[in-house]
Subunit: 199 residues, 2 copies
């Protein structure tokens, strides 16, 4: 049986991150009792991330405050998650500290998950090149030469979880729950959310 | 053809509101160029609503700042929207200023929309009694004696739009878009979100 204790997730959020993808992921993981930390990256107003459609989300931490702890393995996450939203994804994928973090975490056997345009951070961190990936169609051209590009709604390959857009965010989040905690936990939290019969 | 200009929506948010239902609705409406104002109700920390799974959302306005303008019709919304999350829904549905606002707006032919536990605010405002409604199953017992309770994923009846939970929030938001702006607008914004084939 999967160990239900102490699973920890780090969700990165920047100005321009897609708020639905961000919030669906955080909420669904917390419904599964995963300990989620929302870290703000290079926010113009340090108090909140101004997301792609203007929703303002207060992060739990500033990434600059926790990056040293994370990189030095004092603070250990089971998964790092990157939402979409083109502007936010560009900020996240071009940050060298994050590139280093994603690469080292993946080398250590941790999961890396990205949805929509957030998937470009997987490429910029040089993770799982040649492996299977999906993304929002708008960034397909950035990925298909260096990955085995898939049109599936969610793809899991070598501890890299990728997905396509706001409409696949529930499936993305539930797949993360299943990978970390098993199918039973996924099923347990699905029912009260009144999901569609196919995601 | 529907008039695409100047549609205005007011989304009410309190501590304990369901963050997925709140954010999916705001985001999808803004994708349809609806002018959305997020108003915070009785927030413990006036800077943000602490939602049901800990996501902190900064409102655009405090409801107490705009309630006079809204009640005196200086500020006119085409729709008022109440998310779920039991604690948030209780705060919103027990607020007498909001009850007055919802009732007077509905009398004036405006839409009232609620999802999940947010639907109890429709009852507390005495709106469309005997009409068709749906909700999250947890509040079905509060509604079924005074409404024609439905198990549909979204219900539109006499300018009251109701829905069931986080998993029906995309359908809820798209139904609002269709009611305000027509099916063409709904279809236009649906495609980039990569929604499931049935919602
Ligand atoms: Cu709810």
């Amino acid at each position: 049986m999967a160990n239900l204790d102490n699973k920890k997730a780090l969700v990165l959020v920047a100005d321009g991150s897609e708020e639905m993808e961000t919030v669906i992921t955080i909420d669904v993981l917390r419904r599964a009792q995963i300990d989620v930390t929302v870290a703000g990256i290079a926010l113009q107003n340090e108090n909140y991330a101004k997301c792609s459609r203007g929703v303002m989300i207060v992060p739990d931490q500033s990434f600059s405050n926790i990056s040293k702890e994370v990189l030095s393995k004092k603070c250990i996450y089971d998964i790092i998650i990157i939402p979409g939203g083109l502007t936010g994804a560009q900020t996240i994928s071009s940050n060298s500290e994050i590139q280093e973090l994603l690469a080292s975490e993946h080398r250590d056997g941790k999961f890396i998950a990205a949805i929509c345009a957030g998937t470009i951070a997987i490429k910029s961190a040089n993770i799982n090149k040649g492996g299977k990936i999906t993304s929002h169609p708008v960034v397909k051209a950035d990925l298909e030469n260096e990955y085995n590009y898939q049109e599936e709604r969610v793809v899991v390959d070598n501890k890299v979880i990728s997905s396509r857009g706001p409409g696949t965010a529930f499936l993305f989040a539930l797949t993360i729950v299943e990978q970390l905690l098993g199918k039973e936990k996924r099923d347990e939290i699905s029912s009260p959310m009144i999901l569609a019969s196919t995601l």
